[in-house]
């Protein structure tokens, strides 16, 4: 971390002392005169040529953002302007959002990157202006006449550098969109800008490598089927050791009732694996007839951060696999952007899923009418329904060693609208839950700072700054209520909040919601539990441990 991020006291000093327009210091320059500077920690490594080739993307080459010459392909200006033109035809949202902004500034201080960096171009309105200024120059006739009056500018290599910088300092979290009086969603603009950049080979390895992996092996991490199974089986062993219960997940099994898909981070990464153990315990507890696919082994979709086509391509596997296995419906694990894709895009892109049935919980009989078309249920909805119907034996005291707060992941909050279910579950599985301050939760939640494929190690500087508003909110509940556990329902959050907390709020752990469910579940035939899924001692259960010894 040290190499790519300033140490905390330096960053704090900078936030305290450096003048910025966030603090009301006027800038003496116009935004288009501000230079773009790439330095350690503020750019992601570009995709390796072999990855580009594997994906069939244009302009594979070795380059770095710090290079003077980015080796853009011949005629790149034309590629960009034609790319933009065709996308304007395809998306009303893009055209409308480029046209209707009045620059009222309501969004200005809503972006976590702006709050963390103080960089004016991180005000969502200016981020969009980066593209808008070029659009205005190339498109509507009248504005062309009024050039210089409307802030139009030419498309130059400098502009591309600026795009690369700032459209990769946007996590498509949509917080700005919430406050915009016209609902202008910078995410829509960032999505298109990143598509355009990909057209001329300006890209991000941390996004494209997982995309290539996912295409080939079925998941972002590139885990091949046998390793995938081994990983889960080692979790099964851990679970047996901790609880004395043998859970029995099945793989690629035809005829199961439910296909379970979760981000591969839950299978491979710490602390996601504990969440996975939670799922396995839960499914065992209720005796769910489910299977896990090694082919559709990824819930997340980095295609979403690449291009519309790529998103569709990666997503197509879910329905394809569900049809092949003949399941009735799909259950999805905890993930942020996975659910944005499933909720808002999947059925449109790869539906209709006529071969599936409207999901019905086999335990409670609840029909998930809200998933009648997609046929895919969110695990939090599923579990909340179980708890509400009293189908789970829970002992919230088992989470007494944790004082929790809940982080709404941006996609689940503003791209799906799920707020109550996870809170309901959390209140049922643990006894101490405190909300963070009101302007930082629910629909106003702050991004972890590393979403949308920016979770790269070399990007640590920007990530720690972008996560600052979230970390600051956690700090407040930590000081006020001694909160030490940040619960979330997003795989990227689990991966990215962990270093963020280590950086800003050491001592705060990051947990998946179903990890806490797994802790609290009282399983039939289990042995005396004294440790949570992380093998940390539970509070208040030590006596039992002594007895056993």
């Amino acid at each position: 971390m040290a190499k790519y991020a300033p140490n905390l006291s330096e960053l704090k000093k900078e936030l305290d002392e450096k003048p910025s327009i966030l603090k009301g210091n006027y800038s003496d320059k116009e935004w288009w005169d501000l230079p773009v500077e790439f330095r350690d920690g503020n750019w992601c490594f570009p995709a390796k040529p072999e990855v580009i080739e594997e994906l069939g993307f244009p302009n594979p080459r070795k380059w770095a953002a710090t290079d003077q010459d980015w080796k853009l392909p011949d005629g790149w200006q034309k590629t960009i302007s034609e790319g933009l033109r065709s996308r304007l035809k395809k998306y009303r949202s893009l055209k409308l959002f480029l046209d209707t902004c009045v620059r009222c500034g309501a969004c200005a201080d809503k972006c976590h990157f702006f709050l963390g960096t103080g960089d004016p171009k991180n005000m969502p309105v200016l981020r969009a202006e980066l593209l808008r200024s070029v659009y205005r120059n190339d498109f509507p006739l009248a504005e062309k006449i009024l050039k210089g009056f409307s802030g139009s500018r030419k498309l130059t290599a400098e502009v591309i550098k600026e795009w690369h910088m700032y459209f990769n300092q946007c996590t498509e979290c949509r917080r700005c969109s919430l406050f915009c009086p016209f609902g202008i969603d910078t995410a829509e603009i960032t999505i298109v800008a990143r598509e355009l950049l990909n057209l001329i080979g300006v890209n991000n390895n941390w996004i494209l490598a997982p995309v290539a992996n996912c295409n080939r092996t079925g998941n972002h991490l590139g885990i091949e089927p046998h390793t995938f199974v081994q990983n889960i089986e080692s979790m099964v062993d851990d679970i047996e050791e901790l609880t004395g219960i043998t859970v029995e997940p099945t793989f690629n099994r035809k005829g199961a009732e439910v296909l379970f898909i979760t981000p591969s981070g839950d299978v491979f990464g710490d602390p996601g694996v504990y969440t996975m153990m939670g799922y396995l315990l839960l499914f065992h507890h209720i005796g769910l007839d489910y299977t896990i696919s090694t082919y559709a082994s990824e819930g997340g979709n980095f295609g979403f951060f690449t291009s519309n086509d790529m998103m569709k391509k990666l997503n197509a596997k879910m329905y394809h696999e569900a049809r092949r296995l003949g399941v009735k419906w799909i259950l999805g694990g905890e993930c942020g952007h996975m659910w944005r894709v499933v909720h808002q895009y999947m059925d449109t892109m790869n539906g209709p899923a006529d071969f599936l049935e409207v999901p019905v919980s086999p335990v409670t009989g609840t029909k998930f009418q809200n998933a009648a078309a997609t046929k895919m249920v969110h695990i939090a909805e599923f579990t909340a329904d179980l708890i509400h119907n009293g189908k789970l034996k829970l002992d919230p005291k088992r989470n007494d060693h944790l004082r929790t707060t809940f982080h709404d992941s941006c996609n689940i909050a503003r791209g799906m609208g799920m707020f109550e279910e996870p809170r309901y579950i959390l209140r049922n599985v643990c006894n101490t839950f405190h909300e963070m301050p009101e302007n930082t939760i629910r629909e106003q939640t702050f991004c972890c700072g590393s979403g949308s494929g920016l979770n790269a190690e070399e990007y640590m500087d920007i990530r720690m700054r972008g996560g600052f508003p979230r970390a600051n909110a956690v700090r407040i509940v930590r000081e006020k209520h001694k909160v030490d556990s940040l619960v979330t329902i997003c795989a990227i959050d689990r991966a990215s909040l962990t270093p963020l907390m280590r950086y800003w709020n050491p001592g705060v752990g990051v947990y998946g919601l179903h990890e806490l469910v797994g802790n609290a579940l009282v399983m039939d035939g289990e042995k005396k539990r004294t440790e949570d899924l992380r093998e940390n001692p539970m509070a208040g259960f030590e006596d039992g441990e002594d007895d056993e010894d």
């Binding site: 405190h434 301050p437 009101e438 302007n439 509940v477 209520h481």
Partner: protein, 383 residues
């Protein structure tokens, strides 16, 4: 922050809806008055002020009583008032707003209200009253809102608020003094022409306004579970007791001056109010009820231990509020007009329209108070 007032449970919205219904009645009634003129009220040539001005006078007192929490909290740093002080300030805001609305409702030509500012007349007490009331409204709203806003986001309030809050203390005294001067400076009205009127207003304000404040805190506790603290309430009850005693003492001195001097014109109004004059007895039962109720409430407050029982406290406070509302609102205003300068007696009775408008304005005041307190309680009880 006001968005907090837009979130509430079923009871909250039912309360808001019923207030809105009453406001609608009030608007309808006012519309009638605006169209047909003030003839639709009970006022007339001889009793030319009535219910509206009575409510106004009473509510100025309610507004002024905010200092009874501001002084101990900000001047003497008594922490037990920390939760009550915002309620006092917001009550002052709502009460001042009602005062202004009652003045407006009483005006024959509300469309010309801006004339007061366009042709400022420093020799007129009304001009000063409009100034101090608007000022008090702004001071309390701004200071209360700012302090609450700072508390909501967990930061210290900006430094400019302190002077504004200190300013509110003499300002509170001024609103009631100027209001008393409205009456006390008129040559032909013997009931009002007394130097003790301003101090009497202040005493009754600190008794009735503070009682109302105690009642509001009790209602909040009942409805939201937000408790401003027993200690604060009991301290306020002490203030109520002494202010009440001073108030009744001053009423007594008025009686002495009038009846011992035996000047007929000085006695007439008091005779009309308390004993009836020339066959007119309309207000006599009300005035005695007020007097006995007020004294009874004071006795309850003075009895040991009764203050700490919420029920007794609520009863005594309600008693004092009603007593002073009758005495200072209705009695004082009507008593000033009867007998008239020509020694004629004309009884006054509010009409339904007048009562409708009055209820409407009270409902507006309660609505504003509810919204403000909803915000305050939401902020104060946030995690």
């Amino acid at each position: 922050m006001i968005e907090k007032a837009l979130k509430g449970n079923r009871n909250y919205w039912a309360w808001i809806a019923s207030l809105l219904a009453v406001i609608a009645v009030g608007i309808t009634a006012y519309n009638r008055q605006h169209w047909f003129g003030l003839t639709v009220t009970g006022m007339g040539r001889d009793v030319s002020w009535g219910f509206y001005i009575a409510q106004f006078t009473f509510l100025v007192g309610v507004a002024a009583s905010a200092v009874m929490v501001v002084i101990p909290y900000y001047l003497h740093n008594r922490k037990e008032f920390s939760k009550t002080v915002i309620i006092g300030e917001f009550m002052a805001v709502a009460a001042t707003l009602m005062c202004l609305l009652f003045i407006l409702a009483d005006m024959g030509r509300p469309d010309r209200v801006l004339n007061v500012l366009l042709y400022p007349s420093p020799h007129s007490m009304v001009f000063w009253d409009v100034m101090v009331l608007n000022g008090y409204f702004v001071i309390n709203l701004v200071s209360g809102w700012t302090v609450l806003g700072a508390e909501r986001r967990g930061v210290p309030p900006p430094s400019w608020v302190k002077p504004v809050i200190y300013l509110s203390i003499p300002w509170a005294v001024s609103i009631h003094t100027v209001t008393a001067f409205l009456y006390a400076g008129l040559p032909g009205r013997h009931l009002w022409l007394t130097a003790v009127l301003a101090p009497r207003f202040l005493a009754s304000a600190f008794a009735a306004g503070t009682s109302l404040l105690i009642l509001v805190t009790l209602v909040i506790k009942q409805c939201t579970g937000f408790d401003t603290g027993k200690e604060a309430r009991e301290k306020l009850a002490v203030i109520v007791t002494y202010a009440g005693i001073v108030n009744f003492f001053m009423i007594g001195t008025e009686f002495f001056t009038a009846f011992y001097s035996h000047v007929p014109s000085h006695m007439h109004s008091l005779q009309y109010l308390f004993f009836g004059l020339e066959g007119h007895y309309t207000l006599v039962p009300f005035m005695w009820f007020s007097l006995l109720l007020g004294l009874g409430s004071l006795v309850v407050l003075l009895l040991p231990g009764r203050k700490s029982s919420p029920k007794w406290l609520a009863a005594a406070c309600t008693g004092l509020v009603v007593s002073i509302w009758i005495d200072k609102g209705v009695g004082l205003i009507l008593g000033g007009f009867v007998p008239s300068p020509l020694e004629e007696i004309v009884d006054y009775q509010p009409t339904l329209t007048e009562i409708g408008v009055t209820l409407g304005i009270w409902a507006i005041g309660l609505l504003v108070l509810t919204l403000l307190l909803k915000v305050a309680v939401s902020v104060k009880s946030q995690e």
